[in-house]
Symmetry: C2
């Protein structure tokens, strides 16, 4: 019997409820396919932070780094200011473990309602590879008052005028600023991951940027994309400005195979993608370091108002669990979980409120576990 | 007879064709409502740039600044590298004239096909107020190699680790970076514009940001929003992360009245909004400086492959023309143009290919002008 050790961070809000269902389904898959999972819970999230003042310590991260996959519920709590937990736990883990790929399958399952007209599961079936450790997510920025921080403010003002060759007034009493950076290695590795995926798929990679306006950072991205693309002459490519991309996601999702995007634009378009595939209740994500510790999570938040109500849809979490065990090598078990999700949806008997049903979170977990076990 | 002088920049690609139709319809409205427009053409765009090396000179801008509204076709040409014309002409004008509001009505007209299920014109009817002169659009960024640009690179690396309280390696041989800035005045004035609009509408303003991750720049935005909101106790508000906002635009457009957004996120969500309202062929925009020179344009690009084919939809441009004459004080004429557009669509006889018809650009212009004249 294969043994896996998987650390779990249930997190905040509905996190513990949905993670319980994910574990239930993976345990059922283990029973059927002959593996056993030893789950270890980690307490990080709002309660732990409010009780101890600790977000996630380097010690916890070192401990977690012994594993190859972490199962995460959701992070975020109204008692804590926006961003504190998200940055201090979720982003800290993505960065610390150098999970440079955020993998988001955008797949309309058979029987799921999408808000988009005239599209079938054959039309909505692609993968977004979001860069996950750089760009505007590096947390560098600040505020400045006139006269202070002379360097950045003054340099900015003169560059601003110089770039446009015009005399533009930009004096301001007070500003807020933010810096994004992408590196050559950081950009190449994620683009390479996307091309490798496309080699196993429909051999097409779409790049997302805004090189016509944020030219310094995304002109750099384009060059690295072109350099990696030249190593894959059999893969076709296209470039899309992020604004236009939101239109194509809605109008022509069938155009895409693998979409690779810088971090911040990836955050935006994958939420839109989640809606196109039927809503957040159905959208899983993986934070992947192919050589290190990966982390799998539903892409929705902690939905504090539903906490403890046994109401929300656990499918995104269960699907993220399938991605996790696939990463661990259990491909057959993973496929079985995804097809059990599809069966549950097609049978249309045990569904949560967001899919028009009245079943509870745990009912859906039970039902999918039952199908996995072939009962 | 009221006289207006309006400068026109037809621009590139299909620009001249669509502008011709816009002028035709405004001239018809003038005939009916008793005003006369003297049009002055400006040559800026690809041909002018390739012939003279000039994008838009300070002399041209000074000349244009004598007018209160400019009518713009579209800018962009495959012979010129991406970004050069867009930044050198379009963004230069927005910045020079300090057109701090980019106004985008998201309105599904009666009879228009939207890709979104189950939504009617009553559901899709709101306005996006996009900040238009700051944020990541200021054009400041660069590249750095290890060892070079010590200041920014080194500061960034240490801040990066310090902010997360962790020991994260960020060494890279080469990076591309970009800086965004928003100012107190720049943020307040556009938010104030949004609240003033909401006062005349359904008294609700939705703010867009990503304050949980880009906390420095958008935490600042939120504070300014809250400060302006406190001056309008009768207007209700909500905050939306930009990623979630893309979902609500598709799923619940009926939630919105006035949406106010920083520049870059505004660029993204207004293209999505254009799709929700039926496509780029139907989406007008105004770049507004309420005390200075404004500029009106369709939000689509120059569509070089359709150039000279008398094929594309002129409705976005005609609608932008209506916004322009409303800004000049001709409200009744503006309303008449918009309702003529609606009549043309409802009659469903003279339509361009994107709306399932086979009429030419000029046929649609002719038809709308005819309806404006009451013929
Ligand atoms: C919670 C938040 C920090 C996070 C992000 O912005 O990456 C989320 O939106 C996501 O997409 O996983
Ligand atoms: C052409 C481009 C520079 C422009 C922008 O990014 O603002 C366009 O997308 C728009 O929305 O008007």
């Amino acid at each position: 019997m294969t043994q896996y050790k998987i650390p779990v961070i249930p997190g905040d809000g509905i996190g513990p409820e949905i993670i319980a269902e994910g574990r239930k389904v993976i345990d059922a898959a283990g029973e059927r396919f002959g593996f056993d999972v030893e789950w270890t819970e980690f307490p990080h999230g709002a309660d732990h932070y409010l009780a101890t003042g600790e977000l996630i310590s380097e010690d916890s991260l070192k401990e977690l780094s012994k594993y190859s996959a972490i199962y995460l519920g959701s992070i975020g709590d109204p008692r804590v200011a926006p961003g504190v937990l998200e940055k201090g736990v979720l982003l800290a883990a993505r960065f610390y473990f150098d999970q440079y790929v955020n993998l988001r399958p955008i797949k309309l399952l058979e029987g799921v309602w999408t808000p988009i007209k005239d599209k079938t599961p054959a039309d909505i079936d692609f993968t977004v590879v979001r860069e996950n450790t750089e760009d505007f997510y590096i947390g560098i920025g600040g505020r400045a008052k006139k006269g202070e921080s002379k360097d950045l403010l003054e340099v900015s003002r003169s560059l601003y005028s110089a770039k446009f060759g015009l005399d533009i007034e930009t004096d301001s009493e007070e500003i807020g600023y933010q810096i994004g950076m992408i590196s050559k290695e950081g950009t190449q590795r994620v683009i390479r991951y996307a091309f490798d995926l496309a080699e196993k798929s429909k051999k097409h990679v779409s790049s997302v940027d805004k090189a016509n306006v944020l030219s310094d950072i995304y002109g750099f991205w384009r060059e690295e994309f072109e350099s990696v693309a030249s190593e894959h002459p059999d893969v076709t490519t296209d470039f899309n400005y992020v604004d236009a991309m939101t239109m194509w996601f809605v109008k022509n999702p069938e155009w895409f195979d693998v979409v690779v995007t810088p971090n911040m634009f990836g955050d935006i378009i994958t939420d839109l993608g989640a809606m196109v595939q039927g809503g957040l209740g159905l959208a899983p994500g993986g934070n992947i370091n192919p050589e290190g510790t990966s982390m799998f999570e539903p892409i929705h938040g902690s939905a504090p108002k539903y906490k403890g109500m046994n109401k929300v849809n656990p499918i995104a979490t269960i699907w993220a669990g399938a991605m996790m065990i696939e990463q661990l090598g259990e491909k057959e078990a993973a496929d079985t979980i995804v097809s059990a999700i599809e069966t549950n949806i097609l049978e249309a008997k045990v569904r949560t409120y967001d899919m028009g049903g009245s079943a509870g979170t745990s009912d859906v977990g039970d039902d999918i576990a039952r199908i996995v076990l072939g009962k």
